[in-house]
Subunit: 368 residues, 2 copies
């Protein structure tokens, strides 16, 4: 396991029972994404609560790292309790609402306020760190004509626009956000909680995610937002700052390649992908087809089969040819298994049983 | 002028009086952008109405090609009349609302409806071509919880989502647009009137443009919209379809490099950039600095100085190094004046007096 977290070439592999025990044994902290991994809506994923209970009993530190900006830290501890997960303190919860407030507290001068496109939870986290804010809730255009819209009063204290999930998002709010950004220029921060483009609901439906709203504001302002959430490493930095964890002894468990797994890999963590949420095996396998394999937390940690470990091969830019190559343009040149020219031998990580497979072979062998 | 519209290498140049008379003499049709070129808000640009009157008296065909989706063809003829421009018929007006309705009329089967994020004018143009629609005006979320939002009734006839400028844009509408797109898949068209990211107002302020809303829907749906407006050529195709004009004898007059000039150049038109609207000379000159030069329609066509002609060097991918190179990635390799390797001589277009300047020299010499 130590070799897996080190600097050498890494392998993507499917965890079999023995190898998985070794991976878990070498970790002292597990970071969990929540929606799609621990629960879907108000229903816990089968076996997840019991599994986390066993991990906690075995002395592992459990933290929760979620892009969802619609709940406070306290609300997450209550949900964990309600669904039968081991007790958690607010300091173990790293939601994008809390992390955004923490970021602004560091970045803004005292007294500066934030214009918020977001939920009451986002506002509450700002209040908790003492940042004045305005914006949450419905807003109307201040008159019938475009000229009126550029005349609404602006709060002189606003030095940041913060975009989270906002069911009251409207043209009026977009307009006001742009006006703060144009007034302040580079003195007005633009921060987004995350770029998730869709929020999956039960039954396979989905509703637009925060990423849509961030994109609208970025397009209006013609500048890029600082994104607090995964795959950016800021959330992981928040965890490190609180608990001083060792990346080499930390596992990130998530259901999204483009957020959870990407952040974990870029931070040097061991990463586990579950198939109970957004990502299907078909997506992992790209155009290859084949039957879907449903892995869950229970599968993962009780029996330790039917799951994938993506070690930090992101550093090596190697996901295999079918594995969302858009995540890593240029992987072909950097991957020891796929680079043009003389093939370099793949290193065999220490401490892991099971067969080390080349990435592209792995992908053929997943759907057994 | 014939050489300018032909297939050979083209030069960007500043029009002096004699050259400008030759350019105008060789044209029988002029296409005008409206906002920022003919008027700003409710005030005509100085001299613009008189100039267009002279052009009409000289037998030129005048058409109006605008990305603005908030007015019908009829409303544009009324505004032209109100501001003293020569009389125009609705068939001379190519607004993005009309052109979007025309596109959907061609693309949709009979009876199919459109879900519209847009203005009453957009709805009126759809009605004029017999396309049922729903959506314009304010919309509220159909319940307090995310699960409710995915339960609002969907019209079974909807086969297109049309995004125009919508002051009532809201999360509820974005949600409904996504649901139609997910339900229909590739059988549900996604069409945007334009990608303008900002709508400039008097006094240098701006409000978010339709491009912000299009981007939000595209991000949610994870697919690209068909864009009716400039710089896409669809609007020009509408003009050709109505009047059978010859691109080689047509001039596009606009204030935006990234819409008007880009469309004109990609359609093989001669293009005139005025500096009364969005584009400043500083932008044209990039980082070079220097005093701004304000050209207007009046300057352009009365005295024919202080204006630029961008011939269709877009085809040659050559705007010069300071001229918004992001519009033409790869220009360096394709431009005869800037290509690496042995320099090819720049061709001297026929029929144009004045000194033919290399693009990068031109940019140094503009602000005299």
């Amino acid at each position: 396991m130590a070799a897996m977290a080190g600097g050498g070439p890494r392998q993507c592999r499917r965890l079999e029972a023995e190898a998985a025990r070794a991976v878990l044994g070498a970790a002292d902290t597990l970071l969990f994404d929540c929606d799609g991994v621990l629960w879907r809506g108000e229903a816990a994923v089968g076996g997840a609560a019991a599994t986390l209970g066993r991990l906690a009993a075995a002395g592992k530190r459990l933290c929760y790292v979620t892009n969802n900006s619609s709940r406070t830290r306290v609300a997450y501890t209550e949900k964990l309790r309600r669904l039968g997960f081991p007790p958690a303190e607010p300091r173990h919860i790293f939601g994008s609402a809390f992390c955004a407030a923490r970021y602004l507290r560091q970045a803004l001068p005292p007294g500066a306020a934030a214009y918020v496109l977001g939920s009451p939870a986002l506002a509450a986290e700002l209040e908790a760190v003492g940042i004045p804010h305005l914006g949450p809730g419905p807003a109307a255009l201040p008159g019938p004509a475009p000229a009126d819209w550029a005349q609404a009063p602006l709060d002189p204290a606003v030095r940041a626009v913060l975009v989270g999930f906002d069911e009251h998002f409207s043209y009026a709010k977009l307009c006001q956000a742009l006006r703060y950004l144009l007034r302040g220029g580079s003195d007005c921060l633009l921060v987004g909680t995350n770029r998730d483009h869709r929020l999956p609901l039960e039954g396979g439906t989905g509703i637009p995610g925060t990423g849509c709203l961030v994109k609208a504001v970025e397009t209006a302002a013609q500048r890029e937002a600082f994104i607090v959430g995964k795959p950016n490493r800021y959330m992981f930095d928040c965890v490190v700052s609180e608990f001083n964890i060792d990346p080499a002894r930390t596992i990130m468990v998530g259901d999204r390649l483009d957020t959870d797994i990407l952040m974990g890999n870029s931070c040097g963590l061991t990463t586990l992908l579950t198939l109970t949420g957004v990502t299907t095996l078909d997506e992992v396998k790209g155009q290859e087809g084949g039957s879907a394999l449903h892995s869950s937390i229970q599968d993962l940690l009780d029996h330790l089969v039917r799951c994938l470990v993506f070690c930090n091969c992101w550093h090596q830019r190697c996901w295999g040819p079918q594995l969302l190559p858009q995540l890593c343009p240029g992987w072909l040149a950097a991957c020891p298994a796929h680079a043009p020219g003389p093939a370099r031998p793949a290193e065999e990580p220490d401490g892991l049983g099971g067969q080390v497979q080349e990435h592209h072979h792995l992908l053929h062998n997943l759907a057994e």
